[in-house]
Symmetry: C2
Subunit: 351 residues, 2 copies
């Protein structure tokens, strides 16, 4: 089926487009009243993520309101460790927790790659259903957490400010840490390949916590796994985006991983980022999500500044830019400000 | 009085020293059983910070255990807004809160610089007492939060993940935001000048949340205030250190502020940082605090790597480096690992 709107895919291939495409991390989320209604009816976040009809519904909700150029599968980044047997659950106000975190070399030795069409079938069913419902309007992005980021949650048993347990494991038992990252990388490759086989037309890896590592630890524990994913993932011509909070120090290395796109947060200017990646990859980003708390006029001004910063670093051309936030949206954001943002991105970047 | 150990002050002036000096952010803290005992006896954190004898006691505790090259005043970064009438208190497990946060242009208009020897006399008394008790053994560092960082707490009313309220104020009411930052900067200059007059031999500004700003907002809302502090602070020959989490994108600009030292977190190598500041300032840092969760041998190896990284970026010389963590210590850290760290820094860097 031919896509009616292929701006997003064309931008990732650095091809010409009529205007800069835009989607927003966590665009399907609690800031939308219709999302809150679906979630209330489902009873829990996990129930919603694990029921293909509900995951499909919330995936499509933001596309009904805003002129977004891509849909992203509604799911959680911790589905893979859950399918590996760690027992994912959510504690109200505290975020995700694992009942059986990975704490020892013996725990790591017991891990294996889960079967995608049994333990994670609900994800693939959601992908198939969303593709059908999208009916070629915009492309669907599948995603996974990065191996380092998944390992963070698996070892800590939940979120953490300092990631002390996982860093201690990396320091004190590097061989075990590498074995853990190897099996998680195998699982991520199988997971993203299965999402593509089920219909995902682009794929994104969220290395949310790679930026908490020192440069030497990043190069040892996160970067090589991103490279392996980019090289081994079965994805035909579906582009891959490597997003990482705090990944700005590593842009040159990320541009050489074999992915089509690199997503960056707002602590670097796109002008600087575009110069540094030198046209090797498309760039995705990078408005500070908190800018959505500004007035609609302020949001529009900020959007123009991000668009122009990219152009200035990319030799005067807007090609190769996917507009996004530098991180996900928050529940208290105003949908009207999102509408202003999406409109301004298209308007200001129109060729 | 001549200092018995002036390594720290000499390193900040980029003079030769017998080995690299070391102190640790939050070295007086809950990881020490004697600190927990003092705190339990005091009844509350604020009581401890506001009672000069108790603040002096906990300031000195880590120096009795470890061969540290500087003491840092035990206090809280929010003493200044508290003295401005915001009503600081602590909620167990939630951190600092203000009873009367700054929410409107009218709230900002009412703010004024507090008198240092009335509302903040307990801080100056603590400085005087600590200086007497140190008896010239090592220098005493005074400190303040940066204007942007104080404004973050003042507007949000406490900590935040996104700092959405303060960023919205900066976007929607930039003139009011600048007025807030102006009065807070005046107060910080008066506060640090008073600490120096009371006996602090070096001063550090903690710009803990400057790194959450985009580069353009950092240059508008944080950096100019750091420059003003460096230029207007009455400090004779006492060196000033500008520490900022996530300040690595701005090192060149920070080196030109007029401070003697810049403190960096662990997301940049000191080799890169030293090349970029080009000998204009001393550098302080930058071990990831989580490395203290590693075994003592791993801690030692990490300390050597930080020391050698600085030397490699500083033309083969260790001059101009103050060893520290890239952020503060945590309550669950092991004092024996701190002992190994301090020992290794001195041993490995001995000229």
């Amino acid at each position: 089926m031919t896509l009616k709107n292929d701006r997003f895919l064309r931008a990732l291939r650095r091809e010409s487009v009529d205007c800069t495409p835009v989607w927003l991390m966590r665009q399907a989320g609690r800031y939308l009243p219709e999302y809150r209604a679906t979630r209330a009816a489902a009873g829990s976040f996990l129930k919603m993520a694990q029921t293909p009809e509900l995951a499909c519904e919330v995936t499509l909700q933001p596309l009904r309101r805003f002129d977004l150029d891509a849909a992203i599968l509604f799911s959680d980044i911790l589905t893979v460790p859950d399918a590996m047997g760690l027992g994912l659950h959510f504690v109200e106000g505290e975020g995700p927790k694992f009942e059986r975190p990975v704490r020892s070399v013996a725990d790591i030795a017991r891990l294996s790659v889960p079967d995608m069409e049994s333990g994670l079938r609900y994800v693939m069913d959601a992908v198939r259903l969303i593709r059908r419902e999208l009916a070629g309007s915009v492309p669907l992005i599948g995603f996974s957490g990065s191996p380092w980021t998944l390992a963070c949650y698996m070892v800590e048993g939940g979120g953490s400010k300092e990631w002390g347990k996982v860093k201690a494991l990396a320091l004190n038992e590097p061989a075990a840490m590498h074995r853990l990252l190897d099996v998680v990388t195998d699982a991520v490759i199988a997971y993203l390949s299965a999402q593509h086989a089920a219909g995902a037309q682009a794929l994104q890896v969220f290395d949310t916590w790679g930026g908490t590592l020192s440069p030497s630890m990043y190069r040892e524990f996160s970067l090589p796994r991103l490279t392996r994913i980019a090289r081994e993932l079965k994805r035909d011509d579906a582009p891959l985006i490597l997003f990482g909070k705090g990944n700005a120090p590593h842009l040159e290395a990320l541009a050489d991983c074999g992915a089509e796109g690199v997503g960056v947060d707002w602590t670097v200017t796109l002008e600087d980022a575009a110069r540094r990646v030198g046209g090797k990859v498309a760039l995705q980003g990078n408005l500070d999500p908190a800018m959505l708390y500004g007035s609609p006029d302020a949001v529009r001004a900020q959007a123009r500044a991000v668009l122009d910063s990219y152009r200035d670093g990319n030799g005067g051309s807007r090609e190769g830019h996917v507009f996004n936030l530098g991180h996900g949206m928050s529940p208290d954001m105003n949908p009207e400000h999102v509408a202003a943002l999406v409109d301004e991105v298209h308007r200001h970047s129109a060729r």
